[in-house]
Each structure stands twice: as structure tokens, then as C-alpha cells.
């Protein structure tokens, strides 16, 4: 029997910022087309861990990893891996909406332009499809040339999601995507996550446990750089096996 290949996998992953040991021996495997939520108190390493999947930590001086991160069974820290190719496969949405100071249209097709795609019809079609997937099309379809900075925060965040979807990744990393948004925008983003998991493997970092409960299939609890518990969301919230998890989700610390 061949070993099962997971969409994303970490094997004995250790990460350091200089001398600081940020992630300690993490083993985790994530299913394809499921939503996995990372929860834990501030500074527990969940965002650091999320950013190892598209190697956004590479920019931080003194950051290094030991162990393996596998995407479809391939080690993404292998020397042969090209980081720009990896990031086309693993998209990311950040905590604060970060649209480029360009038009809505140019924001969405930015990733395509980077790849040298100039065909107007292709760009137009991808922009429309991506904006529709991000549930933003109906709100902006008449103003595609308007500056993206003129959109509301919630619209900006959906634009950032559309931008990530435009280059057809298979994984979507979301770093507290709704923490800077109002409740209505947050609800829209959560709804969107529900929709998107039919086609994408989603990993979301969140501070909001209700949110984790609502949007995710699996939840991983991190504490002090360790992965304490990883199981189906329902199971983790109703019958946590570790007392630290229980203390955290019942609000005794964090």
C-alpha cells in the first residue's frame, strides 16, 4: 500500500529567528480541499508556520528552518524549488487588506502580468472570473478602472482574494483575513471561504475561535511554538484531549 500524499504536510519542522526557537518539531498533515484553522495565543507561532508554506519568511534576516514542508509530497524548501513558482501554487491573503495603488482591474491581473500574459481577452476573462469567485464582481463591474484604494476595507480584502485566485493557486493561505474588518464584511469573507473550499485547500490563521468554529473542518491549536492538538474542528472544540487546549478555548488564557 502506498503512503497517502497529503496536500500540505510538515515533518518535524523547527524554525528559528536568530536564536529564538519559534516553531518546535511540528508534524501536521492537511487534507486537500478542506479548511484548516490555526488558533492560539499571540506569539504562539501560528503565523510564522503559515508563512512557511509560501516561504514568505525568507525575507526575514536570521530566519531558518529545519525539517520538511511538503506540498503534494514535494519538499518546498528543496534547493531546486523556485520560490516564485511555489507562490503561484500557494496564494496568500494578508491580515490588513493590501491592494496595490492601481486600478481594480490592474490589481486582479497583476499576477498574470508578472507571468508576461498580455492578451486583453485573457486578462479580461480572468479578472471577471476571479472577481466573481471573490463575490465582488457585482459591486465593481462598472468601475474596474477605479483606484482600488477607493474601495471599502471589506471590498479591498475580497479584491485581495480575487487577486490571489487569478493565478489559479491550489492552496490559499489566509493570515487573519477578517481581523481588520467590520462584522458584515467578516461574514462575507467567511461565506466566501465556505464557497472556496470546494476548489482550494485553505489554511486560515484566526484569533477568533467562533470564526474557527464556523469556517473550518480541522483546527490546529498552537502554544509556545508547539502544535498542541490537531483534529476535526468539532472534536477539538467539544472534547479537547489536551488540558492546554481546553484552557485556551474556554477562555482561561490567551
Amino acid at each position: 500500500m502506498s503512503k497517502k500524499v497529503y496536500k500540505l504536510e510538515a515533518k518535524n519542522l523547527n524554525a528559528y529567528y536568530g536564536n529564538f526557537h519559534a516553531l518546535k518539531g511540528i508534524d501536521i498533515a492537511m487534507e486537500e480541499k478542506a479548511v484548516t484553522a490555526f488558533i492560539g495565543p499571540s506569539g504562539c507561532g501560528k503565523s510564522t508556520f503559515l508563512r512557511t508554506f509560501n516561504r514568505m519568511n525568507d525575507f526575514i534576516e536570521g530566519f531558518r528552518t529545519e525539517g520538511d514542508i511538503l506540498l503534494d509530497g514535494r519538499d518546498i524548501y528543496d534547493k531546486k524549488i523556485r520560490v516564485d513558482e511555489l507562490r503561484k501554487e500557494v496564494g496568500m491573503v494578508f491580515q490588513k487588506p493590501n491592494p496595490f495603488p492601481k486600478s481594480i482591474f490592474e490589481n486582479v491581473v497583476y499576477g498574470l502580468r508578472l507571468q508576461g500574459i498580455k492578451n486583453k481577452a485573457v486578462l479580461q476573462e480572468t479578472a471577471e472570473k476571479s472577481l466573481q469567485r471573490a463575490a465582488l464582481w457585482s459591486e465593481v463591474k462598472d468601475n474596474l478602472n477605479k483606484s482600488a484604494l477607493a474601495l471599502s476595507g471589506g471590498q479591498q480584502q475580497r479584491l485581495c482574494i480575487a487577486r490571489a485566485l487569478a493565478i489559479s493557486p491550489s492552496v490559499l493561505l489566509m493570515d487573519e483575513p477578517a481581523s481588520a474588518l467590520d462584522p458584515i464584511s467578516t461574514a462575507k469573507i467567511e461565506e466566501l471561504i465556505h464557497e472556496l473550499k470546494n476548489d482550494y485547500t485553505i489554511v486560515i490563521v484566526t484569533h477568533n475561535m467562533q470564526q474557527a468554529g464556523r469556517v473550518s473542518d480541522y483546527t490546529a491549536f498552537f502554544y509556545m511554538g508547539e502544535l498542541v492538538e490537531h483534529s476535526k474542528t468539532k472534536a477539538l472544540f467539544t472534547s479537547p484531549s489536551d488540558t492546554r487546549t481546553q484552557n485556551y478555548i474556554t477562555g482561561r488564557f490567551g
Binding site: M56, R87, F94, N98, F100, G111, R113, L149, R163, A164
Partner: protein, 285 residues
């Protein structure tokens, strides 16, 4: 007098002192401008702008001088812009924070403080003698480029630094290379600031006389330059030359030339201010 009275007087006193400090520079400048205007404005006419230099003050003009200044302005911009921006992008985006980078940074800051006449001597040795460019426009523009490079590098770096991390992250996360991120995000977002810095640096360069005199720019050039390898003069040198003559009429000529030079620098500064305001309005993160 109560304590609060004293505090109020101190407050008032400092306010007046502050106004005095602010005004003193402006007043001196205003007096100077008015004085120059009274002396020189009557001298400025079409003939003055289009005449060649002459030994007779009444028929001497500044055609060769302002043509030289424009040549110098354009050549210096063309040379200093790519070098300055290139160096700034390297230092800000590529170089690692090593001891060497530190050393380079400190020395660039130091270079900004080197007197311009020293740059003139440097230009004389390298461009005029070693490269055999003679006292040409090109030698002058290269010398002035060296002079303003540190200023351009420092202001460009500041503009690049002001582009938020989040925009770069957004670009990288979509698979952009470093250069793609710089070209598509960092430079467009900081372009207004970069341009402002360059224009201010250029307005300093067009006012320089000392380094150009050192490299051999002449006060008397009978023809306006037509190629970068021609000999030249510039407005500051022409002004310097006329003010050192004993005849009253040449002083009037100098005042006229000063007005033209000031118009050029004020115009440049005005463009810089306009660009900065537009940039502030356009980009709010």
C-alpha cells in the same frame, strides 16, 4: 504677578521670538530680491536674453550663459538620475546589512557634505585631464553629477523606504521576483518623492559656479554650445564675472542675470513642490 501670569508672558515671548526667527531669513531674502529687481529688471529684454557676451556692457547678453545652464541642467539630470536611483535601489533593496554596506552608507552621507570646489578638483583631474574631455559641457555635467549624487541617493532611499512592507508582500505573494516588485510597485509608488529629490538637487547644481570654474568653464564664450563636447559658460559664472568688473553697467547686467537664474531655480523648486503635493494626495496607505 502670579505664576500663571509669568507663564503666559513666557508663552507670548517665545511666540514672538519664533516669529522673529521665521521672518529673519525671509526678510533678508525679500530685501535682496527687491534690490536685485530694482537694479536688474529694466535690463531684461529680448536683446539681453539673445545677445552674445561683449566687452561693452550695454550690448552684452546672457544667451551663451543660459544656453550653457540649460545644457548643464539636462546633461546632469540624464547622468545623475540613473546612477543615483540605481545606487539607492541597490542599497535599499539588495544589499545585505553588512559592515561594508554600513561603511558605504556613512560615506555617502559624508560625500553630501564635501565642499563643491573639491568636486571641481576631482572633475578637473578625472574628466578634464584623464578622460581628456577638456573644459566641455560633458566634463561639467559629470562633475556636477558627482556633486549631487549623494543628495539623490539619500532622498531616493527615503522615498523607497516609505513604500510599505505590505505592498511588497502582496507582490511577492503573487509570485513576483524582486526586480518585478521593485519595477511594478516600489518605483511607481516612490516616483514622486524620487523626482522631487532630483529636482531639488538639480536646482542646487544650476547655482554652482566654483566647481565649473575649476574645471575650466570660461566666462567668455562667443558661441552657444551645440554639442556636449563644446566649451561653455553658465549663468553663475557670468554673474561672478560681471560682478567683479568695476563698471556700474556690468553690475546692472549681473542683476539681470541673477533674476534669470533665480527664475530657473524657483521654477524647478515649484515643480518639486507640486510633485510632492500631488504624491501626497494620490497615495494614502
Amino acid at each position: 504677578m502670579t505664576n500663571s501670569d509669568i507663564n503666559r508672558y513666557k508663552d507670548k515671548a517665545f511666540q514672538i521670538f519664533g516669529i522673529f526667527c521665521t521672518l529673519i531669513g525671509l526678510v533678508v531674502l525679500a530685501v535682496f530680491l527687491i534690490d536685485i529687481a530694482i537694479d536688474g529688471i529694466s535690463r531684461i529684454d529680448w536683446d539681453f536674453l539673445t545677445s552674445l557676451p561683449s566687452r561693452r556692457a550695454s550690448s552684452a547678453g546672457i544667451y551663451t550663459a543660459w544656453a550653457g545652464t540649460l545644457w548643464i541642467l539636462v546633461l546632469t539630470a540624464v547622468i545623475a538620475f540613473p546612477l543615483g536611483v540605481g545606487a539607492a535601489v541597490y542599497l535599499e533593496e539588495y544589499s545585505r546589512k553588512t559592515k561594508l554596506a554600513n561603511f558605504l552608507e556613512i560615506n555617502i552621507a559624508n560625500l553630501a557634505g564635501v565642499p563643491s570646489i573639491i568636486y571641481g578638483l576631482l572633475g578637473l583631474e578625472i574628466f578634464v585631464r584623464q578622460m581628456r574631455l577638456g573644459g566641455s559641457l560633458l566634463a561639467g555635467a559629470l562633475t556636477l553629477s558627482l556633486l549631487i549624487l549623494p543628495i539623490i541617493i539619500v532622498t531616493t532611499r527615503e522615498s523607497i523606504k516609505a513604500v510599505p512592507r505590505s505592498v511588497r508582500d502582496g507582490s511577492y505573494a503573487l509570485g513576483a521576483s524582486k526586480w518585478q516588485t521593485i519595477w511594478n510597485q516600489v518605483l511607481p509608488a516612490s516616483f514622486g518623492g524620487i523626482l522631487t529629490g532630483i529636482i531639488l538637487a538639480l536646482s542646487r547644481a544650476v547655482g554652482e559656479a566654483a566647481p565649473l570654474i575649476v574645471i575650466g568653464a570660461l566666462a567668455y564664450v562667443p558661441f552657444a554650445p551645440t554639442t556636449p563636447l563644446d566649451e561653455f559658460t553658465v549663468l553663475p559664472i557670468q554673474i561672478f564675472n560681471w560682478t567683479s568688473r568695476p563698471q556700474e553697467a556690468f553690475l546692472t547686467n549681473a542683476a539681470g542675470a541673477i533674476i534669470v537664474l533665480l527664475c530657473i531655480t524657483f521654477l524647478l523648486n515649484g515643480i518639486a513642490v507640486y510633485l510632492r503635493l500631488r504624491q501626497q494626495k494620490k497615495v494614502k496607505w
